[in-house]
């Protein structure tokens, strides 16, 4: 009887778990909504949601705790396809997808579709070129695979480095997302929110590793999906009267575009844009005449303050000016950096905006089509080589299941992505209808709330005390989080969206932490430094490494180094340039050898890092580098740096391989074995998976 129960649980357990969890989540939201109508404080709703999200992690971790290495890193290699797909989907859906995607579409309309296309198109490459072969190989990490194919410690060190740098940048972006959400909804300090979120993640990964991750992520998918679909459905219902998720938004899109064309051509908008163009010109001159211009500016502002004090101007204005004076840059270098940013902003606002349907027509840069394609390229390649995603395919039961599993994970991802443009469209419509033309004194309450934490700002440049489109600056990260407030929904829905965002950010952070940990503890410590370490000692090392990495990530994230989407795009470029050529050539081109792989990885990473650093940063103060900024090549932005790094990696890999000795017999046999799910000449009736090369646990 007990055995039968177990079997039943084994077969239907995952589905049962997910559906029970969904019901539980909906009931919780309803109960909280009822409590809110009874006067429960908003702050408590925020706390409860945060607590619940973390509790799920902790409980799953507790129930699936393990001290077995294979269980810890690859969940015992017996996860069924659909369940693995669901959890890989959640692993994939990060803060960037949940918060950033709709934001990118809001900000740049058609141009933002590069993210939709790239992030889903990469799955095709993953499914066709990598997933089944990695599963056939079946060890623990990507460096394991590359070493088995090419051999040697150098390749392990290099690929572990590539894995770590890409994952670390990506995890910092997630942690940043956690800080953003907690600081708005739970009014915790940004820093405290970051550390609290990480603590929850650590409890889960710490105890259960990959196995805990599988279950926790399936549960989080439920939170994430409900949280993403509900607010936009209600907002769309208010606008269109159709009570269904707005997958078909064509009509609203047409309304939006005609409204955009009308608003953008209003005389006051044109005037405001001209004022920004003038400001840009002033800034340009000021930058050109540094360092004298800094003194001129400082004197000018002081004189103005003196004059105001003498003429009994309102104290508020004087205080404002004094604050401005204090915020003035101290040195010419700092002024250069500050003013460059202001100049960029002013230039951006001075151009006529394009409507959402217009493809590649950002007039300020003629290379927008090239950038669009380049970004798609980087994101697809990056998707197919992000280590935390690829590692998933080691944990699946068989090669054929691995093929199916990619299908399921993409399907779960697509469910979310289908609605991202709807968010952008409906929120923009709302902004154009109910924010543009409103007096600055009586802004909608959601605008006020987000202004307070600095993510929305209104700059009344023409002093007409009315809001113009060009005067609004909304951080794209706000769009999804603010939608419930824009739709006038009770706070509980905002809390739910925050919980969804947290689930997305934390689950991805967890997958990434696990992959960094594996690189450090498995590849570098166990395989290179101490091959004789016992398996329990290996796990102890892994877990301590994980805590260390988490702390580093949090410490960097609290510095807020760049915007969410930027950091994510860099991680993709780096992963793609470092790993993709070596992986794909390793599977499909027998002639690729160790020297080629090493040269390819080094070149790919070097080109990408060089490009990002020099195009994106003008100075890195803590290294003492100043004035290193350069003009982009062919107008390609730093986000798409991989478009140079990946081909460079491929070309160098192939050239060096051809110039050096062909790979050994061993590598050739390895490739041969990789190609067939079962080897025919082995003729033994093997239990699944046991013919794999090098399976010694």
């Amino acid at each position: 009887m007990r055995n039968r129960l177990r079997l039943l649980l084994g077969a239907y357990g995952p589905a049962l778990f997910v559906s029970l969890f969904a019901v539980g989540f909906v009931v919780t939201v309803l109960v909280l909504g009822w409590l809110e109508s009874r006067g429960l404080d908003q702050r408590w709703i925020g706390y409860i949601f945060l607590f619940l999200t973390l509790l799920v992690f902790a409980l799953v971790g507790l129930f699936t705790r393990t001290s077995d290495v294979a269980e810890y890193f690859v969940a015992g290699r017996r996860v069924p396809a659909m369940y693995a797909g669901m959890s890989a989907g959640t692993d994939w859906l990060s803060a960037a997808s949940f918060i950033g995607l709709a934001g990118a579409l809001y900000q740049s309309g058609y141009q933002g579709l590069a993210f939709v296309i790239g992030w889903t198109g990469g799955y095709v490459l993953l499914a066709l070129l990598l997933a089944p072969y990695l599963r056939k190989f079946g060890q623990y990490t990507l460096p394991d695979f590359l070493v088995a194919r090419y051999g040697g410690h150098t390749i392990r060190l290099l690929s572990a480095f590539a894995v770590m740098i890409a994952s670390l940048i990506y995890v910092i972006a997630q942690v940043y997302g956690v800080g953003l959400i907690t600081s708005r909804f739970i009014t915790l300090q940004f820093e405290i929110g970051v550390y609290l979120g990480l603590a929850g993640v650590l409890v889960c990964s710490f105890l259960g590793g990959m196995r805990a991750l599988m279950h926790a992520q399936a549960a989080q998918y439920v939170i994430l999906l409900i949280a993403y679909v509900t607010p936009i459905t209600i907002l769309a219902f208010e606008q269109t009267g159709v009570p269904a998720p707005p997958v078909l938004y064509a009509q609203t899109m047409q309304r939006l575009v005609s409204l955009e064309q009308e608003v953008f051509n209003r005389p006051e908008e044109v005037a405001v844009r001209r004022m920004y163009a003038e400001r840009a010109k002033v800034l340009e001159n000021r930058i050109a005449s540094l360092p004298e211009s800094l003194n001129v500016e400082r004197r000018a502002i002081s004189e103005r303050i003196e004059r105001m004090k003498a003429t009994d101007a309102p104290v508020r204005d004087i205080v404002k000016l004094e604050r401005e004076r204090r915020a003035m840059p101290e040195t010419a270098r700092a002024a250069h950096a500050d003013w460059r940013n202001e100049l960029k902003d002013a230039r951006h606002r001075s151009v006529t905006p394009v409507d959402d349907l217009q493809a590649f027509a950002l007039p300020e840069d003629a290379s927008s089509r090239a950038n669009f394609l380049a970004l798609i390229f980087c994101l697809t390649i990056g998707t197919a080589s992000l280590p935390h995603l690829l590692m998933r395919y080691y944990s699946i039961a068989s090669v054929s299941q691995a093929r199916r599993s990619v299908f399921w994970s993409l399907l779960f991802v697509v469910l979310v992505y289908l609605l991202a443009p709807a968010y952008a469209i409906f929120v923009k419509l709302e902004v154009l209808q109910h924010l543009v033309g409103v007096p600055v004194e009586s802004l909608p309450s959601w605008v006020v709330a987000w202004t307070r934490i600095g993510l929305i700002s209104i700059d009344d440049i023409n002093h007409d005390y009315l809001v113009q489109w060009a005067e609004i600056s909304i951080s794209p990260d706000v769009i999804v989080l603010a939608t419930p407030e824009i739709a006038g929904l009770p706070y509980v829905i905002s809390g739910m969206v925050a919980a969804g965002g947290l689930a997305a950010a934390l689950s991805t952070a967890e997958g990434l932490l696990l992959s960094i940990t594996a690189a450090l503890s498995h590849d570098i410590y166990f395989k290179m430094l101490r091959p004789d370490a016992s398996s329990s000692w290996r796990l102890i090392v892994s877990k301590s490494v994980m805590v260390g990495v988490a702390i580093v990530a949090a410490a960097v994230a609290v510095q807020r180094p760049a915007s969410l989407v930027d950091m994510v795009a860099w991680a993709f470029s780096l992963a793609g340039a470092g790993l993709f050529p070596a992986l794909v050539l390793g599977v499909f081109w027998p002639r690729a050898n160790r020297q080629g792989a090493i040269a390819g990885i080094v070149t790919g990473l070097a080109v990408t890092i060089y490009y990002i650093v020099r195009v994106r940063f003008d100075s890195i103060p803590w290294l003492g580098w100043y004035g290193i900024g350069m003009d982009p090549w062919f107008g390609i932005e730093a986000a798409a740096a991989g478009v140079f790094g990946v081909p460079a990696g491929f070309i160098v890999n192939m050239l060096v391989s051809l110039l050096t000795k062909p790979p050994s017999m061993e590598s050739l046999q390895f490739i041969e074995r990789l190609r067939y799910p079962r080897i025919l000449y082995n003729r033994e009736s093997t239990p699944r998976g046991d013919t794999e090369p090098g399976r010694h646990v």
Binding site: L113, L128, A359, S400, R403, L411, L680
Partner: protein, 86 residues
């Protein structure tokens, strides 16, 4: 022995054919359609200009289909050539 090797070679050739043909469709949808997006916008599909529709919704149907076809096709090929896992 050599018969088995030949069979394996044939399996691999088929695999490459499947992979390459699906990748070709993928490339057309991803890069060629995006490149000509402006030109495609002269037609509308489900109320949206075609170029925009492909980027925003079309790919979200085509990509899962490509992967689904690959999984079914390859799993059948495995059985056909007797290289499936037991």
């Amino acid at each position: 022995m050599s018969e088995i090797i030949q069979q394996q070679r044939a399996y691999w050739r088929k695999t490459m054919a499947v992979t390459l043909s699906l990748l070709l469709i993928w490339f057309l949808v991803t890069f060629v359609a995006s490149y000509f997006s402006q030109w495609l916008n002269q037609w509308t599909f489900l109320g949206l200009p075609l170029g925009y529709f492909i980027g925003a919704q079309g790919v979200l149907f085509i990509y899962p289909m490509l992967i689904g076809v690959y999984a079914l096709w390859m799993n059948r090929l495995d059985r056909q050539f007797g290289v499936e896992e037991q």
